[in-house]
Amino acid sequence: MITRLRSNHHFMLWGMFLLGLLIRGWGLSEQPPLDDEVGAALDAANYIENGHWSSIMWEHPPLRNIVIYLSAKLFGEYSSWGLRFGSVLFGSLAIPAVGYLSYGLFQKNLTACLAAFFLCIDPLNISLSRQAFQETTTAFFIVAGVLASLHGIKRDNLLFCGLSGVLFGIAAASKWHGLFPLTVSACAYLIYPWVSGGQGGERRFSLRLLSLCAVYVAIPSVVYVAAHTPWLLRGHSLHEFANFQVFLSKAHYYHKASRYAEDYLAHRAYLWFVIPVVWNDFVFSSGRPYLNIAAGNYFIWVLTLPSGYFVVKRWVAGHRFEEGYLLAIFIFSYMPLLLTSRGIWVFNSLAVLPFAFILISYAINSLMNSGKLSLRALVIYLLFVSVISSAMYPMSTFRTLDYPWLRTFAEIYSPHYGAGR
C-alpha cells in the first residue's frame, strides 16, 4: 500500500501541501507584526471600505488588500492569522500547484514530487508566506495560470485558456510579475499547432489570434481592472485608470527602497542562483528585538543554471514543446528582473523560483533515468538540503536572535550595521 501511495503523485503533492502548511503556520502567532504589516492592515480595510489607494508598497496593484481583508474577515480580526492567512495559504498551495505543473509538463512522478518538495522546504518561500505581503499570492497565481494554460494549449481547450487568463489576471493584480508568463503563454498558444509536431487544434492563424485576444488579453484585463473597483468607485474613469497605470510603471522603474536595502543588501537578480543572497526584516516588539533573515536554500538554488543548461541542450536536441515552454517561462520571468537597472531584491525571486525548481527536478529525473545519478545519491542530497532548510528555519521565522549559533548571521545582517554606513 505504501508503495502504491508513493507512486500516487496526488497523495504525495497534497501530503507536501499539508507539510508546507504546517511549516508556514508553525508559531505564526508569536511572530510580531512588521511596521509595514500594520500599514498593510490599514490599507486593506480602507481600500475595500472607501477605495483608499495603498500607502504601503503603493506602486503595486491592490490585490494584497483584498486578500488581507478577506483573510481578516475569515478570522474575525486582524490577528496574526487574520492578517497572514492569505500568504500562508497561497504559499502552501503553490507547492501542489508546482507539482501538478511539473507533472503536466513531463508526466513524471519524481519530477513533480521533487519540484514540490524543493518549494515546500524553501526558506525564502517559508519566510514570505509568513508575512502579509503579495509575494506568495503572486507566485501561486502565476503557477496556477501556467498550469491551466498548459492544459488549454495542449488540449486546444478554450475553457482552460480562459481560466488561465483569469488566473494570470489575478496574478498581475497582485504584482506585475504575472504579465511575463502571461505573455509567454499567449505566444505558446498562438504557435502551438506549428511547433507541436503535428498535434494541436485550430490552425487558422486569424482565429487563433482572435482567441488569444479574448483569453490572454481581454479576460486578464477585466480581472485586473476589477481588482481596482474600490478605487474606481472614488470616481476615477477608465481613462484615468489607464494614465495611472502608466504612472505606476514609471514609479516601478524609478523605485528606491530604504537606504539599508539599497546600500547594503544584494539587489541584483543575477546573483540569485550564483551566491546566497538574503532579504531581512527587523522589528522591535513587546520589549525585544526580532531579526528575520530570509534566503533560499543555496544548495538547491545553485543547481538552477546548470539545470537550465541541461534542459536547453535537451530542447535543442529534441525540440519538445514542454521543454521549450518551461524554458521560455523561466527565461522571460527572470530576464526582465535581470536586465533592469533598478534594485531587485531576492523576495522578487518567488515569481521565478517555481520554474527554476521544475528545471532542477526535471534535470535530476533525467539524470536518474539515464543512470548518471543513483537513487542513493539523490536520497543523500535530499537529506542534506532538508537539514540545511531546517537549520535556516529559525532565521526565516524571525527567531535569528534566539539561537547563539546564528549569531554570526545576525551580526552580518544586523540593520544597525547598515544604518551606520
Partner: protein
C-alpha cells in the same frame, strides 16, 4: 455546428462580455462622483480666511471624487502619511478608518493632498501665475512623476492625477468642477477682471467657488487680498 463556428461564438461572447463589463465599471465609477448640483444662477460661493478651511467646506458639501481647479501660487500637495501607518503594535491590530488620521495632519500646505487621500478630490488642475508656472516647470522637469508638454505639466501626486498650467494654457474643462482661488494667486498682480472672465471660459460648469484669503500665510501681501476681493465682485457681478 462545427468546432470553429463554436469557437468563433465563444470568442465573440468573451469579447462582448469583457467590453460590457468595462463599460459598466466605467459608468459605475463616473456615477459614484458626488458634487453639488448646479443652481440656476451661479456656482455656490464660499469664503474662507485660511486654506485649511477649504477642506472643511469640502467635507460639509459631502464631495466625493470631485475635479478641482486650484488657483494659487502653491500646489498644496505636500504629501502626508499618518504616523499610525508605521508604528508596530501587538496583535490583534486595531484597524480604523484612516480618513480621520489624515485629517489630524491637515495644514495649509497639504490640505489638497489630504482631500485626495480621503476621496473628496479625484483630480486637480493647478493654475499658477505665469512667472511661477515657469519656475515650477523648471523644478518639475527632473521629476519622473510629471511630464511637460508646452505650457502644461501633467502627472500624478500618488494616485491623484495632477495638471499644472497657466490660466491661458488650461484646457476647457466641460465636466462639473470645484474651483478654489487663493489670494496667493494675485501675489504677482494678476488682473482680477481678466482672471474672472477667462476662468468662466475655461470652466463652464463651476459648482462651487471657494475664495480663500490665506490670512495665515504671512508672505501674501495685503494687495493680493484686495485683488482677490475685486475678483470676487467681478465673478459674482455684484
Amino acid at each position: 455546428m462545427n468546432a470553429s463556428v463554436g469557437r468563433n461564438i465563444s470568442v465573440s461572447a468573451i469579447l462582448i462580455i469583457v467590453a460590457s463589463l468595462l463599460l459598466f465599471l466605467d459608468a459605475k465609477a463616473r456615477g459614484a462622483r458626488h458634487i453639488l448640483q448646479r443652481t440656476e444662477k451661479a456656482a455656490e460661493l464660499y469664503y474662507v480666511t485660511s486654506q485649511q478651511e477649504i477642506y472643511e467646506i469640502y467635507k460639509k458639501a459631502n464631495l466625493w471624487g470631485a475635479r478641482v481647479v486650484h488657483l494659487n501660487r502653491f500646489m498644496n500637495l505636500v504629501d502626508y502619511r499618518p504616523p499610525e501607518y508605521s508604528r508596530s503594535r501587538p496583535f490583534p491590530l486595531k484597524v480604523e478608518d484612516v480618513r480621520p488620521l489624515y485629517e489630524k495632519g491637515l495644514d495649509s500646505h497639504n490640505w489638497l493632498f489630504i482631500a485626495s487621500r480621503t476621496g473628496k478630490v479625484r483630480s486637480v488642475a493647478v493654475v499658477l501665475p505665469e512667472l511661477l508656472f515657469n519656475a515650477k516647470k523648471a523644478e518639475l522637469a527632473s521629476h519622473f512623476e510629471y511630464r511637460i508638454s508646452g505650457d502644461t505639466i501633467k502627472g500624478h501626486s500618488f494616485d491623484l492625477p495632477v495638471m499644472v498650467s497657466t490660466l491661458d494654457s488650461l484646457p476647457i474643462i466641460e465636466e462639473p468642477v470645484v474651483v478654489n482661488i487663493d489670494a496667493g494667486y494675485f501675489s504677482n498682480v494678476e488682473d482680477p477682471a481678466y482672471v474672472a472672465g477667462r476662468l468662466k471660459e475655461k470652466c463652464p460648469d463651476v459648482r462651487m467657488l471657494v475664495v480663500s484669503e490665506s490670512r495665515d500665510e504671512p508672505e501674501i501681501p495685503d494687495g493680493a487680498r484686495l485683488l482677490l476681493a475685486d475678483f470676487r465682485k467681478r465673478w459674482t457681478g455684484r
